[in-house]
Every structure is written in C-alpha cells, then in structure tokens.
C-alpha cells in the first residue's frame, strides 16, 4: 500500500479539493450538489416554518365578527373578542397556502432524496458518482428555478388557492386574484427537478452497484430511495401535465377544467391526486429508509426482516398509485368508486405495519444507545404509528366523511409528513452530519433538541386530533370559542417545537465552528459510507470496495475510542488507506485495543 493513495495530499477531500463560489455552482460532485440542496431545503424549511408559527399565533384567539358574533369564552364567561387579531382573512389564506406549498414542494419532497440521498446514495453503493452527474446539477438548477417562481409569487401577490390548487377557484381569474400561474409554473419546474433526480437514482442503483452487492445486499436506505425513484419517475409527470393544463386553462380559458366552458373541475382533483397521493410516499418512504438505518445502527443488531422491509418499500410505491380516490370521497365520486378506493386504501396498512413491526423486532434485545440520531429514529416509529393508525379513520368511508376537512386530517398528515418524514430527515442529517462535514456535534445538545422537538410536536398536533374530531374545520381563520383551549395548546406546543428546531440548528452550526474532527465511523454503522474518510474524498473511496455479505453485519467491528471510532475488519484495506492518508486521528496503525460494545 502506498503511503498516499491515489497521490492526493493528506487532508484532501471533496470540500477542499477546489475552492470558491464558482467551483460549487458548477460542481458535478454529487456530495456538493447534495449539500447545496440541503442548504436550500433548510432555508425554505425556515420560511415555511415561520409561516406556520404566524398561523398558529393568529389562531390563539377566536374573533367576534358580524358573520359570527360571539361574546362568551369557552368557560361560558363574558369576553370581548377582537374583530381581528393579526392578519386580514386574505392574508391568512395566503399564509396557509404558502406554508403548505413551500413545505410540500420545496421542503419535504426534495428533503431526503435530493439532499441526503444525493450525498449518501453513491457512497453507499461504493460508486464514484451518480450515473448522470450533469443531469444531477441540472436538477438542482431546476429546483432553484422553481424556488424563484415561488419567491416571486410570495413577493408579489401571494397565493390563496390552498397548496392543492383546486379548480375552478385556481383556474379562473375571476375567483383567485393571486399569481396562480407563477406558483404552478414553479411546482411544474420542481416536478421535473424531482423526476430527474429519481431517474438518476434509479439508473445509478441499477447499473452502478459494486462487485458483490446483489439487490438483497443493498442497504435499506437504497431500497427506499429506489422505491421513491419509481414513484418520482412515474407519478410526477402526471402532476406536470395537470399543472400545465391548469396554466393553459387560466391563461387561455381552454375549458378542460372550467365548468363554465364545459370542463370538469373534478377531473383536476383526480389528476392532482393521482400524483399527490403517490407523492405522500415520495415523502415518507425515504424517511422509512433513514429510520431503518438509524434503528439497526444504534441497536447494534442486524435489521430484522430485511427482505420484508425492502420489498414493503416497493409495495408502498405500487399501492400508492391505486388509492388516489380516497381524496375524493366528498367530491361527487360514485359510491362504488368510493368503496373500491376505501378498500384499496386499507392495503397501505400492510407494508407500513410490516416495517413498524420489523423495527420493533430489531430493537428487541438490541444493544441500544440513545444517541441523537437514534432519538429521531425512535420518535419516527412512535409518530409514524400514530399518523398511520389515524390514516385508517380516513380510509373508512363513514368516519372519513365525518372527519373530512377537519383538523383531524390536518393532524393526521402532519404526523405523517412532519412527524415522520421531516423527523427522519432531521435524524438523517444528525446521522450523516459527521460524514459529510467531517465534524462531530455536541451529542448532549442534540439530544435535548430532539426531546424538545418530540414533545413540542405532540403538543402541537395531538390537540388538533381532538378538536378535529369535535368538528373544527381546517383552513378557517376564525372559530367558536369552545375550541380555544385546543388551539392554545397547539400554539404553545408549536412555540416549544420551534425552540427545539432552533436548538438543533444551533447544535449543528456550532459543530462547524467548534466541533471535533469526526472519525470515519463514529456510530458503528456497517454500510459502505462509514468505510471512507469523513468528509469523503471527491471519488468517495481510495479503492473501490467489494461486498461479500448482507449490509448490516456488526460482528466484525471493533471500537477504538471516540477519536478513531469503529473499525471494520472486513474493510481493513480501506482502513489502511485512511491511516496512510492521515484521515484517522493519531498515528496508530489501527490495530488498537478492543473495547467491544464500548458505547
């Protein structure tokens, strides 16, 4: 083994190989593109989150208006309610629309696949890059193009259609006076960004696996991204054409969705949900992939039911295409169609439950360490279970019609999208942060933040289940005073959760300034990305690794202390490379003391 593998100087990695702003925006390196995605996504998470806090603040108090006069509070005592609290009703409509649209299109959909997926997927595959690096950069530029459209919408007229853009309100200039075309154009462009990312991952996984990595030796995160890619490639174009028709409808009154011209507005709902229901799985399936990695790594135990988890991701992707009609139970859909869609929707429970039970079985008798990423992993299991079980209420026709358009729905999809998908995203960031930044953060601060977020999240959304079941409709600015206790609890919960996110952000930023250098494998992860330096070199590995086993073998690892992390005997070759390259702190040859399960 040469002392300087590949002839690069010690300390060389993907972050410092080239320097300057231009080297970033013209990069074809999947890790840099992933990092750019991560920054953009987190920025829009801040924007969308700010809108959410504004909404919750507005909802602190009920109002007394001419349409809805009220003068007693929930205790039955006399109280003078204000006519308006913070925002006009039009502003409120724009706030919840933009909160939803930004969080869905700009944050959650690109969150795990485009940022963490881009950074990690090729490394997990032992590949040098994704199959089409240039297309990858294009995807990022399309993402930026889409965000610009949204920012222009935000800066000019806003958007008040709800994130679903339902026709004919959205398609007619007489109804919505906001810049619907600009926003839908943004979503259209973002859709193609997502398609190209999915296409890239699909091809990469198919054609660039390393020697010995058969399909059933792939890490589960890759299985999840693979299933997600299928949905991205096959469902997103339908959103594309739908939004294109909406744009044409609004611009030229073409008459496909506008009932005044003989069009069918419900057709829009079918088209929209044909994408947007699978899109729910674009959001949640990668989160499940992250959760699988977190749970097996921090239980130090091979994942239970590997094949079942892997195939259930694909199962979710396929079933996801067959259930869009459950969004139309109250939209003049026939009873037969309602029953069929209701029946099919229950099938979603099977792959979801397979995953949850397998995660629990993995935890059972595992050697669990409660480090920051694991707390998110556990939070994911709990919140996803609540979100999933309340989904059954919506699949059941009789309850679904009662709960339609109430806060129960709001709470349900926040448990799934935020409590599961975004929590997994944050967990994934904390898990892979040392890998792609090369810095260790303060685990204690990270854990405190995780607990605050978990409590704050439940404080925010659990009361919404209750008030939704009691009949509080969604998207309303005003409400009867009897709902005030729930709204207050929800708002205070959201403030608490926001504190947690600020602390989590602080933890990560602090690590960039003061964090210790991360070892290649700080957590004892068994997958390939932990067998290369943190941060990895531009080509990801000094030597292309060879796989000969299932992905979660923890038996051959040795803990060498916090500075050196975990050493894997099977990848002794890579370890020697890293030692030779001074990627591992200290000067030892890596065959140090054995501490066993030293956490």
């Amino acid at each position: 083994m040469s002392h300087e593998p590949n002839g690069y100087p010690p300390g060389d990695n993907y972050l410092n190989r080239t320097k300057g702003f231009l080297s970033w925006i013209t990069t074809l390196d999947h890790k840099r593109i992933g990092v750019m995605y991560l920054c953009s996504v987190l920025f829009f998470f801040l924007v969308g989150g700010t809108f959410a806090i504004m909404l919750r603040t507005e909802l602190l108090t009920p109002k007394s208006t001419t349409q809805m006069p009220q003068d007693t509070n929930y205790k039955g005592q006399h109280e003078d309610f204000p006519q308006k609290f913070l925002f006009e009703k039009d502003t409120y409509n724009q706030l919840f629309t933009l909160h939803g649209a930004i969080m869905v299109f700009l944050v959650i959909i690109p969150s795990i696949p485009a940022s963490l997926g881009n950074i990690i997927l090729p490394i997990m595959l032992g590949a040098k890059d994704v199959a089409f690096p240039r297309l990858n950069l294009w995807s990022y530029y399309l993402y930026i193009g889409g965000t610009i459209c949204f920012l222009v919408t935000l800066a000019t007229t806003g958007l008040d259609t709800g994130w679903t853009f339902y026709t004919p309100y959205s398609s007619s200039v007489e109804y919505s006076h906001t810049n619907v075309i600009m926003a839908t154009m943004g979503a259209f462009i973002l859709g193609f960004s997502s398609i190209f990312t999915g296409l890239n991952f699909l091809v990469t996984i198919h054609t660039m696996r390393p020697a010995g990595m058969t399909w059933f030796r792939m890490p589960l995160f890759l299985w999840a991204l693979y299933a997600t890619s299928i949905i991205q490639v096959l469902a997103t174009p339908v959103l594309g054409i739908t939004l294109l028709m909406l744009i044409v409808e609004r611009a030229f009154s073409i008459g496909i969705f506008d009932p005044k011209l003989g069009g069918d507005p419900v057709l829009f709902q079918h088209f929209f949900w044909f994408y947007s229901h699978p899109a729910v799985y674009i959001m949640i399936v990668p989160g499940m992939g992250v959760a699988s990695e977190l749970i097996t790594t921090f239980s130090r135990k091979t994942i239970f039911g590997y094949r079942q988890i892997a195939l259930s991701s694909v199962g979710l992707a396929l079933i996801g295409f067959l259930v869009w009609g459950h969004h139309l139970f109250t939209s003049t859909q026939s009873n037969i169609a309602n029953m069929i869609f209701s029946f099919l929707t229950f099938f979603v429970a099977i792959p979801s439950a397979i995953k949850v039970f397998n995660w629990l079985a993995t935890l059972y008798k595992g050697s669990i360490s409660f480090q920051t990423p694991m707390l998110y992993g556990l939070a994911f299991i709990i919140l996803f279970t609540i979100g999933g079980l309340t989904g059954i209420f919506h699949a059941t026709l009789s309850t679904s019609i009662h709960l339609h358009d109430t806060y129960f729905v709001v709470a349900h999809f926040h448990y799934v999208m935020m409590g599961s998908a975004l929590i997994a995203f944050i967990g994934g960031i904390f898990y892979w942060w040392p890998k792609f930044t090369g810095k260790l953060y303060s685990d204690n601060l990270g854990r405190i933040a995780a607990v605050i977020i978990f409590i704050g999240f439940n404080g925010t959304f659990f009361p919404q289940f209750v008030m939704g079941a009691k009949g509080m409709p969604r998207r309303y600015q005003n409400y009867y005073a009897e709902y005030q206790p729930y709204h207050r609890a929800s708002t205070y919960g959201s403030y608490f959760m926001a504190t947690g996110f600020v602390l989590a952000g602080f933890t990560l930023l602090q690590s960039l300034v003061r964090g210790k250098k991360a070892p290649p494998n700080p957590w004892g992860g068994a997958t390939l990305e932990w067998q290369t330096p943190s941060p990895p070199p531009t080509e990801n590995f000094y030597h292309t690794p060879v796989i000969d086993d299932q992905p979660y073998n923890y038996d051959r690892q040795t803990y060498l202390g916090p500075e050196k992390g975990w050493r894997d005997d099977h990848y002794a070759h890579e370890w020697e490379d890293m030692v030779a390259h001074h990627d591992i702190a200290g000067t030892g040859n890596g065959n140090g003391q054995t501490n066993g399960n030293g956490h």
Partner: protein, 252 residues
C-alpha cells in the same frame, strides 16, 4: 441523457490512477458498456415519464369521450383526415430514416448517418409545416378551444359536405344538429397536438445536435449512444402521433 457521454470537468486531476480511458468514458463509469447500459436505462425511464406525461391528456380525452361521445363524433369532422394521414406517413417515414441512421452510427458509416439525420430533420419540418396549415385553417374557421369556438358557415360546410360532391348547391346541404360543448373537443385537440408538436420541435433540436456531432466525427462503432437515445425519443414522439391520429381524426 447525453450527460453520461461527457466527462465531468470539475475534477482537478482527470486521470488519476485509472490508466488509459476511452475518450468518451466518463470518469465515474468502469467500462463503456456500463456507461451505455446506464444511458439506455435512463432513456427508457425518461420515455416512461413521457408516456405518463401524455397520459393525463389521454385520460382527459377518454373521460370526455366516454361522457359525451356525440361531441367527438360531431367535432372530428372538422379535422382534415387527408392532411393527418400525410403527416402520419411523414412521421413513420422519419422513424425509418432515424432507425437507419442509428444503424449507420453503429457500423460507423458517417456519410450515411449524416444523410439520414438530414432526412429525418426535413421530415420533422414537413410535419410541423402541415401542422401549421391545419392550425391556420382552425384559426380561420373559428374552431378553437373554449370561447374561441364559434365556427363560421364555411367551416361547417367544409366539415360536413364531403361525400355530397362539390357541385351540390347550398340549399341541399343541411349540417347535422350540433351537440353542446363541442369546444371541449377542440380544447383536447389543441392540448394534445400542441404538446406533441412541442415534442417534435425539441426532437428536431436534438437531431441538429447529433448532426453537428456527426460532422465533427464524434461517433464510432464503440460510441454511438447519443444517436441511439435520440432515436428512441424520436420513435416515442412518432408513436404518440400514431395514437393521436386515429383517436382524433379517424374514430367517428
């Protein structure tokens, strides 16, 4: 999908430790074969995406046709079947020349590759020209979408007097009763053919790109992937028209 064909250019050291690379092998692939397979799969995935992109409009067609068959029977008379037929032949022929071009690229016959690319491009232009003639007639007859549908007498006569012979006087000609919402047909017609037309134009752009590269001598029996992939795209655009023609023009 041509990305695979280009070597990324932001890596400071281009040929570190990989030995001799074929000139068109990107740094992150091991062999040209792997690169070709990746590109091909990517192209097929893109084509699947294209099919689903169009599927929305085909679904709209199916829904409206199922609910209002009389509209489609009535309105399809306004379309010029002979022009549609000629366009179908033009596109089918262009698919043949495209496929032949791919074959020439595979066996390294640069001269004929260039010839076939030119013929394919000309067919593309011919298709768009005929499409223009058709659109222009729709414009003049006021048979457009939405509120733009209020056909003049000439249009109605043009649509329904076929088979009666040109020498029949106007008094013998009674057009059939017009059903409600014929404009929906034209909404679907213009969306479908318009989107298809845009795809033809994009295809012509790709063909010109291939042409420039063929003149430059980029392609060889070892490396012809871009020709193959553009060919796939061109066939799909052709195939979509093969569905559009009977659905819009022929089914009465």
């Amino acid at each position: 999908m041509a990305d695979a064909a280009h070597s990324p250019n932001d890596h400071g050291h281009d040929d570190h430790g990989h030995g001799e690379h074929p000139p068109h092998l990107a740094h992150h692939f091991d062999t040209l074969h792997q690169q070709f397979e990746a590109g091909k799969l990517g192209m097929w995935a893109f084509i699947a995406q294209e099919v689903l992109f169009f599927s929305g409009l085909f679904a709209a067609y199916a829904v409206y046709r199922y609910n209002h068959p009389e509209v489609f029977v009535y309105a399809s008379h306004f379309l010029d079947t002979s022009l549609g037929f000629i366009n179908t032949c033009v596109l089918l022929f262009s698919s043949l020349t495209m496929a032949w071009g791919v074959r020439c690229a595979q066996i390294g016959d640069r001269k004929w590759l260039i010839t076939f690319l030119w013929i394919t491009i000309l067919c593309g232009f011919a298709f768009m020209g005929i499409k223009y003639v058709e659109y222009k007639a729709k414009w003049e007859h006021n048979t457009l979408w939405g509120a733009g549908y209020h056909p003049n007498e000439e249009a109605i006569e043009h649509a329904f007097s076929h088979g009666h012979g040109k020498d029949h006087s106007d008094s013998h000609f009674t057009p059939p009763q017009e059903p409600a919402n014929v404009r929906t047909f034209f909404a679907v017609y213009f969306c479908l053919t318009g989107l298809h037309g845009i795809h033809v134009i994009v295809g012509i752009g790709f063909l010109f790109w291939l042409l420039i590269r063929s003149y430059r001598g980029d392609f060889s029996p070892e490396y012809f992937a871009p020709v193959d992939f553009v060919g796939l795209y061109w066939h799909v655009v052709d195939l979509i028209w093969i569905f559009l023609f009977p659905l819009l023009y022929l089914i009465h």
